[in-house]
Symmetry: C2
Subunit: 146 residues, 2 copies
């Protein structure tokens, strides 16, 4: 552990940050809403609705098994619908419901005060400057996945 210390320390910080932020988000969100579930709903609204589970899994860089699990819970809560894809017998189509849209909005509203709190304590442009660097790292790690 000599010259690997920087990377090790870096990933340790990342791991803890991820955990703490996720926990904070989830405390604020309504009705036991989770970050994983929120990001699916958000994706449906902001990127595209009617995608397949595999496409969603790839978008978030999780396994298909993970996405199946999250989608099942969302469907159970009536926040998405999942139907067979007529164009591909193996596939499904995931669509957000009106309740899903409402839940997404409620979640955003619930976390807004926390973002404001962060913005008073941090230089947002500095945080924004970190994003492309993190994204670079992420793409390297994602490439290492296969």
């Amino acid at each position: 552990m000599t010259n690997s210390d920087a990377f090790f320390s870096f990933f340790t910080e990342i791991g803890i940050l991820a955990q703490l932020s996720q926990t904070q988000f989830e405390r604020l969100m309504p009705d036991g809403m989770t970050v994983a579930q929120f990001t699916v709903l958000n994706h449906c609204v902001r990127v595209a609705d009617g995608r397949s589970p595999a496409t969603l899994a790839r978008a978030f860089q999780v396994t298909k098994a993970t996405m199946t699990s999250t989608l099942q819970r969302l469907e159970q809560k009536g926040l998405v619908t999942i139907h067979p894809d007529p164009a591909d017998g193996r596939s499904k189509i995931v669509r957000i419901t009106e309740a899903g849209r409402a839940m997404r909005e409620a979640s955003i509203a619930a976390t807004r005060p926390w973002f404001e709190h962060l913005r008073r304590r941090l230089d947002e442009s500095e945080v924004a400057a970190l994003i492309p660097r993190l994204a670079t790292l992420r793409s390297i790690l994602d490439a290492d996945r296969d």
Copy 2:
């Protein structure tokens, strides 16, 4: 989601990075060793041995329940011992075993090639420069925990 976009994007990147890096580490580690378990062993060697579960939980910013779970698995594998603390009837003392030390070394050796690989692709001093910023964020989030 107007001026909160930077923070939201930032935490999204952090979450994915944490996941991908953890997965990569765990693929490389021997015998189903996990990052959570490794960090406990590493802490015993590099920081202090003979600490209590609560102290360890605070060090990693996880709940006591989480630490109990991880420690139980480590004990089961013979990598730590856990005994009552004679100075405090509620508390325990966690110590690393020789097998635990060996496992830590094996884990470090197993992940070394991956760190080398990262070092060939990234400017390590740039990564190192990110650490204090991440640590600042982490301390803010940690303070928000209570």
